[in-house]
């Protein structure tokens, strides 16, 4: 039996068992036969032994010799009787005679035949003996018929007769002896033969058992080898899988990075397009620009989808629940999508059931994303009719917990069953023709459903061709006790100088540096700027600060390495809190930052409240001051959240749905009549300021503003600007106080410098230039009398004009 050569495992698996199996059963059969043979031999031996016991046991030879001996004894007593005739002698003769007769029956053929088949003299001797008995019986009978003791002649005659029997009997005894000897020899030979057979069978049996064992061993070895091969295969597969997974992860990460990298310049591009639209254009140019902008928006949406799907694929898509004002969220979404719907001539109805709580715990950003997707689809695929968003609570039932149900229904083209079945598959849209007609990646629904499931719910669809579609998002309803408003947003008001913190901002990008500087100075803090990690570490060796804001990706030394270097500094420098600034939205990036020793993480674009909150957390005296506000603090409230009478995106919307919110917000720069429905125009009337051609570009650094908007969002910029250009601006007041002729002349230069930095960082270039001029002037020589007043007037005028322009353009809300 040859084990199959190592080869295709499957073929082996099919063919191998047949061969050895047949052999094993054959050997087993032969073994059984061999055992049967052994049993037969054994039973034969037992039979032989029984024969011996039954027939030979009484010792035939002994019987014959005994008969001969008895004959001699009888002859002896007869001889004695003949010589000494006595009655007692006759008794003895009779007894011996009886014993003699009893011996005759023992050589009867019926006893001997079984052992000794043919004894030639037996019959003859037996006949002679019986003849003797017949003759002697009457003579030895007791009573009248018998002979008397004195009949010596009779006894002599009997002796004589016995003598004649002696020779044949002797011969017969010898014959029997020989025959029995022969018999014993034969029996021995039979036993020997059987022993030989038994030995042969045993040897055969042993060989078979050996063969059996060998086959079994080979089988086991083959099994082991196969097991080993399978293990190796499994290991290879595992390695291959690990490789493939690694490759997939790398690809996903690359995709995520790429889409992320693409997004940043893209926002800049879109910003520029918007600013371009604000310039005087011919109708055709404007149309081209609108097409470019729409293409850009579409591309940005695709990039966002790709970013999400790669996150989803790498299993890193997560939701971060927090307290959400649900009614407001729904309102914002409906307001934003309502403009899209109205642009298409569709009414968007929004109904929130009364039992829906004001506040709940959810990931508001992701919930919005789902609603944007579903409403976007509904608007896209509904040529006419209406789109409806209904929010209700689905009570707990049959083991399912209480859920929030958000239903988006339309009167659009609907879907058939086959389309429904494919709906949530990646890259699948209704069908190819629909894809051509409507565009899109087909990723949105998959992302939405994954998000809904992450939030403890799902998305259900109900649709029929031509009957419209109804998508229902359910999420786990986690009620919260306190309404979201209970925690007021941190005050973005400047802190008094006593509390002012020293903050080190490290960022390689000048706009980001400027922006952070503007935000922090606006908040009343002192800022030191570094362009990379190495500079920051060097600065920290010699200086103390309260907080470090550190970009993660920088040349020379990145934020992670810098943080490790800072942590390695001698105390107390190493204890400074470090907060990462990064546009990297992944949790893994956050994890890496924390592992490097960073204390927290601020995601770009930076939002002012987040910065305020971070300062409050990491600069203890700020938190303490907030708990017990100093009465001296002027209650100047920079409107982070400008009051909006009409529906409009909140700052969060502006950031998370940057693309749709960004442009409409900037659009009022162009003629308000040209796009009345595209943006949530502030309802308050604006001061009618006549703006001459080129004036805006002269006064405002539009490029810088666009970049700031890309970074913080328009709302962020608005809130910063509102703080700086308030009717009673603390920044301007500070400078004007320094310009008081009674004040320290040396203070003018510093105040002017600070004011210049603040206004320049927000793109107010004309105002910055004015401030710089006075800074330089005061640096050359102390201002003369009257110059103070002049400077104050010029600054006030430029300040008011900048403010008016910003109001006119929409950067400031009235």
């Amino acid at each position: 039996m040859e084990p199959a050569a190592p080869g295709v495992a499957a073929a082996e698996g099919r063919e191998r068992p047949a061969g050895p199996g047949r052999w094993l059963s054959l050997i087993g059969l032969v073994l059984v036969l061999a055992f049967a043979g052994v049993a037969w031999v054994q039973s034969r031996a037992l039979g032989l032994l029984n024969d011996t016991v039954s027939y030979q046991g009484d010792s035939l030879v002994w019987s014959f010799y005994q008969l001969e001996a008895e004959t001699l004894r009888l002859r002896q007593v007869l001889d004695d009787l003949a010589d000494h005739p006595q009655a007692s002698g006759l008794e003895g003769v009779r007894e011996r005679y009886e014993i003699f007769v009893s011996r005759i029956s023992l050589i009867d053929p019926h006893r001997t035949r079984a052992v000794l088949s043919d004894l030639p003299r037996q019959a003859e001797v037996l006949a002679a003996l019986q003849a003797f008995v017949q003759h002697a019986d009457p003579l030895l009978a007791e009573g009248e018929g018998g002979a008397r003791a004195g009949d010596a002649r009779v006894w002599h005659d009997l002796v004589h007769r016995l003598d004649r029997l002696a020779a044949p009997m002797r011969e017969l005894a010898l014959q029997v002896n020989q025959a029995v000897g022969e018999q014993v020899t034969r029996r021995n030979e039979a036993v020997r033969l059987q022993n030989r057979i038994a030995i042969g069978l045993t040897v055969f049996q042993s060989l078979l058992t050996l063969a059996f064992a060998v086959i079994v061993m080979r089988q086991i070895r083959a099994l082991h080898q196969r097991h080993h091969r399978l293990e190796q295969l499994a290991q290879h597969l595992q390695e291959a899988r690990a490789d493939a997974e690694q490759a997939s992860r790398t690809k996903s990460a690359f995709l995520a990075n790429m889409s992320h990298e693409l997004r940043t310049p893209f926002n800049g591009l879109l910003g520029m397009l918007s600013l371009l639209e604000a310039t005087p254009l011919q109708a055709q140019q404007r149309a081209h620009l609108a097409t470019a902008r729409e293409s850009g928006l579409h591309l940005l949406a695709l990039l966002n989808d790709v970013l999400d799907i790669s996150t989803l694929e790498s299993g890193r898509l997560e939701v971060h629940p927090h307290d959400v004002d649900l009614r407001r969220l729904v309102h914002d979404v409906a307001a934003l999508m309502g403009t899209h719907a109205r642009a298409k001539g569709l009414p968007l109805h929004c109904e929130v059931a009364p039992e829906v709580p004001q506040t709940l715990r959810a990931d508001g950003k992701r919930l919005k994303q789902i609603l944007f997707n579903l409403l976007g689809n509904a608007i896209k695929f509904t040529p006419g009719g209406e789109v409806r968003l209904a929010v209700a609570v689905r009570p707990a039932a049959a083991g399912a917990p209480e859920r929030l149900a958000l239903q988006v229904s339309d009167t659009g083209i609907g879907m058939d069953a086959a389309t429904l079945a494919r709906l949530f598959q990646r890259f699948s849209q209704g069908d190819a023709s629909i894809q051509r007609r409507y565009g899109g990646t087909g990723l949105g629904l998959e992302i939405s459903r994954s998000l809904a499931r992450l939030m403890g719910g799902d998305i259900e669809v109900d649709s029929a061709p031509g009957q419209g579609s109804r998508f229902t998002v359910t999420i786990a309803l986690e009620r919260v006790q306190a309404p979201a408003e209970a925690a007021p947003p941190p005050s973005a008001a400047p802190v008094p100088a006593a509390l002012s913190a020293e903050v080190l901002v490290t960022d390689d990008h000048p706009v980001n540096r400027g922006l952070m500087q503007a935000i922090l100075q606006h908040l009343g803090h002192r800022v030191h700027l570094c362009e990379n990690g190495a500079e920051a570490v060097e600065w920290l060796r010699l200086h103390r600060c309260d907080l470090v804001l550190m970009d993660v990706h920088m040349p020379v030394m990145d934020g992670l390495a810098a943080t490790r270097a800072i942590r390695a500094l001698p105390p107390p420098a190493c204890d400074v809190p470090v907060i990462a600034l990064t546009a990297d939205a992944f949790d893994a990036a956050r994890q890496r930052a924390l592992e490097a020793g960073m204390n927290d993480f601020i995601t770009k674009p930076v939002q002012v409240p987040v910065v305020v909150e971070a300062l409050r957390r990491f600069v203890p005296r700020l938190a303490a001051a907030e708990d017990s506000p100093l009465p001296a603090t002027p209650p100047v409230q920079a409107p982070v959240q400008p009051p909006e009478p009409g529906p409009g995106p909140t700052p969060a919307v502006a950031v998370s749905a940057a693309a749709p919110a960004f442009l409409p917000a900037l659009l009022p720069v162009s003629s308000p009549a040209s796009s009345p429905a595209t943006g949530p125009a502030p309802a308050a009337p604006r001061p009618r300021l006549r703006v001459r051609r080129g004036e805006i570009a002269e006064w405002l650094d539009l490029e810088a503003i666009a970049e700031i908007c890309v970074t913080v969002g328009l709302e962020g910029y608005r809130s910063l600007l509102a703080g700086l250009l308030a009717e009673s601006s603390p920044a301007l007041d500070e400078l004007l106080q320094a310009l008081d002729p009674a004040a320290d002349p040396a203070a003018i230069r510093g105040a002017a410098h600070k004011f210049k930095g603040a206004v320049a960082s927000l793109g107010l270039k004309r105002l910055a230039a004015t401030a710089k001029a006075w800074e330089l002037a005061s640096a050359e020589a102390p201002l003369e009398a009257g110059q103070h007043e002049q400077a104050a007037q010029v600054l006030r005028a430029d300040f008011q004009h900048s403010r008016a322009l910003c109001l006119r353009v929409g950067y400031l809300l009235a």
Binding site: D58, I99, S102, R111
Partner: protein, 172 residues
Amino acid sequence: MNPSSAMPRRRVLLGAALAAALWRPASALDRPQGRVVLTIGGLIGEKNAADRAEFDMAMLAALPQHSFSTRTPWYPAARKFTGPLLRDVLAAAGAKGQTLRAVALNDYKVTLPVEDCKRYPVVLARLMDDQPMPVRDKGPLFIIYPFDSDEALRSERYYSRSAWQLKHIEVE
């Protein structure tokens, strides 16, 4: 059955039994009246001769009789054997030994353990097929084991212990 006739007979039997019970310890073993067919010597408690117990056929026939049919190596067919149990005969002689030496008329001698008599109903056969056995037909007494009742008995050991033409037992 007639109760009036049964009553006297029962009374007679009772009286005979009582008489026998009273009389027995006085006279150990009867003297044989007929021809002595078996003598028992050696370690025995009951003697009716100088140094041995002697039995005639009547004394053996007076003991409780047992009979069974069995095949033997000496006859082609099964034969019925009848006689007292060997242990009863030994008890009658007050035998106290552990082994018996049986001696036959033809001077055949064989030793058998007393244990055999206790374990098996060994019969001292005096009748074969209900007929007395002449000497020429292995009589007058024949020690017979119940060969057919136990396979262990069908061996040369027990065949050789079955002494025929028995005339004397020596208790040792």
